[in-house]
């Protein structure tokens, strides 16, 4: 019991140190950027008095360590400050941008895993066949095609030409204001409010960007799955299991696939984490008001309030997913318990 508490405390300490280090690094590196956040507020036509006033209001005339300490102190009370480049509270911005990305990333990873894992397994089982080659080519295309270009081509074909999906944005303009933002996840909020029109409209808008991101994830996941499976299928225990009379698919399902689960969880967690960081280019093409674009715009404007809050979230995502995968290892592999 005591050992467990000690372990949890150690883990929490390590998480806090990591996050603090991440924040400090981002803060001090951000202050070295040649971008002046004051100009984002006052515009380039303002005089020096206006500049000095805002410079002071932002606390930029204080020593860097003091600025950092004040930021961290405010952050610990849940105050991320104002986003200079949007004029809103950072927390309010993120409460809109992050759910938009969670929704997109989650659907994308479902598509990526749902297609990538079976394709990878089958490609390994049918190694060297036409199916294997086709899977690898599809994967290679998905892995190497710019998502920006894919997005644009997808919009031209499926939105503009065929009219199968909704256009850029999360909803048709006629649905703006038709839904109460309970969670910020439009699909969930539409179900919550019992509004099928909004739900299906949101589906029609998310399906294309999610598929394009999912395709890129699928390419990565299927390649890794194939590689893990090939390694397992070459093991002697597989041959032994077959000699014992187990069917081919039973061996694959019960032994080979089960043994790659630990590695696969790591791959999927990483792919999901990268999606949650936001896909800036996809978000740009699809006018998706997500986290990636928010972070990039904040960086370009030198808006450290917004950037630090985003970095903190990214840090928490990676650490959270790491902890989750650690737990999953224990479930999936008894040797790690």
């Amino acid at each position: 019991m005591a050992r467990g508490i000690l372990g949890a405390a150690r883990q929490a300490g390590s998480v806090l140190v990591t996050l603090a280090g991440l924040l400090a690094l981002t803060f001090f590196m951000g202050r070295m950027l040649p971008t002046d956040p004051v100009l984002a507020i006052i515009g380039q036509q303002a005089d020096q008095a206006a500049y000095d006033m805002v410079h002071h209001q932002l606390g930029l005339d204080r020593p860097l360590p003091v600025q950092f300490a004040l930021y961290v102190r405010a952050m610990l009370t849940g105050d991320f400050g104002d986003a200079l480049f949007t004029g809103h509270r950072v927390a309010a911005d993120l409460s809109r941008a992050f759910p938009a990305t969670i929704e997109l990333a989650s659907l994308a990873i479902l598509i990526g895993v749902g297609l990538g894992v079976p394709l990878g397994v089958l490609a390994a089982v049918y190694r060297g066949t036409l199916f294997d080659h086709a899977t690898r080519v599809i994967g290679l295309v998905g892995y190497s095609s710019p998502t920006f270009w894919l997005g644009l081509m997808g919009l031209i074909l499926f939105y503009s030409t065929l009219g199968w999906v909704g256009g850029p944005g999360r909803l048709d303009v006629g649905f703006i204001d038709s839904i109460e933002p309970h969670t910020g996840l439009l699909l969930v909020d539409a179900l919550w409010d019992g509004d099928p029109d909004v739900f299906w409209n949101a589906v029609s808008h998310i399906v294309l960007p999610a598929s394009i991101l999912g395709y890129a994830s699928m390419a990565y996941i299927s390649r890794m799955t194939r590689s893990f499976m090939l390694e397992q299928l070459a093991q002697e225990y597989i041959v032994a299991a077959r000699i014992k009379g187990m069917s081919r698919w039973a061996v694959i399902r019960r032994h080979a696939f089960r043994n790659i689960l630990v590695q696969l969880v790591t791959v999927v967690a990483l792919a999901y984490a990268f999606l949650l960081e936001g896909a800036v280019l996809t978000e740009t093409v699809f006018a998706w008001p997500g986290f990636g674009r928010y972070l990039t715009a904040g960086l370009l404007a030198g808006d450290m309030n917004a950037v630090l809050a985003c970095v903190l979230i990214v840090g928490v995502i990676f650490i959270g997913l790491n902890l989750l995968t650690d737990r999953l290892y224990r479930v999936l592999d008894p040797r790690t318990r």
Partner: protein, 534 residues
Amino acid sequence: MSPRLPLAILLLLLQAPASRAATPRDALVMAWNLDALITLDPAQIGEVNGNDIILGNVCTPLVNYDPQDISRIVPAAAESWSTSADGLTLTFKLRGDLKFPDGRAATAGDAAWSMQRAVLLGYGNSANLTQWGFTKDRIAEQIRATDDRTVVVTMDKPYPASLILSAAFASNVAVILDREAATKGAKVVDGKSDLGNAAFKTGPVCVGPYRVTRWDANDVVVLERNDGFFGQKPNMRRIIIRHVPESSAERLLLEKGDIDVARLLTTDDLKALEANKDVRIEQTVVQGMSYIAINTVDPILSNAKVREAFRYLIDYDGLARSILPYQGTPRASLIPEGAFGALDRAAGQPFKLDLDRAKQLLTEAGYPNGFTKKLILSANSISPNIAQHVASNAAKVGVTLELEQMADANLFTRGRNREFELQLVAWYAGYPDADANTFRHAVNPDKRPEAKLTMYPVWRTGWQDLSINEQAAAARMEPDPAKRAAMYREIQEFMMHNGPFVYIYQNIRPIAVRSAVKGFVISPFFVDYGSASK
């Protein structure tokens, strides 16, 4: 969880999907890149998006530019004005039917307070008043309400009425904000009230045809019609501006009819839309100039012959055919066409590509073999194409221009800090009068670095000519319009050959509109959302 819930969700999902892709009949839907939008407070706005949304659409100024002729001033919230015999007092008579969105009457007290507020807050826009002698210390006496409908403005000099009306009282600082709402929503910063800035940043309460009902950063801005507005009732009940930062996506939305207006399209997309009968393209020449700023603190670039040589490296005619369609019109004068006192089109662009002349000027300046300099520029829009054009011609006369692209925020920072040799950048005049650019691009009160006159692009270049300062000051105070215009013509001729700026083109604002949208008034200084109908 109730066992009925999954069933309810399933039934819900099985219902037929609906689409509301076409834009509503009573709403004007625009797509634009709203990345630069950081505030809706009229006293703070310093960029194009905010100005477009607020000026004239959410906040009506005391007077306005005539959309047909922007050098003419017409009544708006003020129904009339008069100037005292000594020219030092300007009196505005406000309309009697001014109302805030909630129906409460707006008074001259609100109008005077709004202008005082702009000066007291001290953001960039305050220069619209402070450059005419209004100061934080005296503003309460300088602009005051004498009754519910009268605003009296006391000036330190008898500025020509047409000039000061255009420069100060048709701008974002001369609007009527709700003092009561600002007081209620005020925050105290450093022991001082922010005069409602934090509240008005996301939703100003103003006298105007529309009010802001929603602004989700980087997503959407929604305006709703104010039915109590004094002027002509806007045709559209709602204005929806969606943030679509990619030109191709905007074009697809427009072609499909999911938006009515596209505000950010590249030349390629505009050309592609030309053949579309459902769309028309409106091009407005605005009061912005794109130019190369030359830092004359640099010993080589301080030579006037070197600067003159750069003017002959621009193929104005070639640019007009290749890069500038939908983006700009060639112009070499510091005063944009359309402004009072501007040179006409021919006189305002006398240069042409002449490499021999450029080479000769460089030789006379002592640099027959050229030199190497760095040109910094924005990575956006057509800046990279323009820079490559100049660099390619410069190379032909032995001048190597190293191009460095960067984000706009970096570009502006480098400019204000004088950290450049050559900078490709744009500047928008605050009002359609030669005075506007003359007092930023020609007049440099103090060229010393420690003067930090960063709002003067000419200070950033380190260039100064005291006789130009005097000429500009005299032109500003000249009451005779014909004489004043002649004085500005002289200044323009001089600056075109001696100044630190190589002007390349006057900016065009292209707007693609669905044919179903009628009567949309688009002027160089404001876009009247309420004029559009379907």
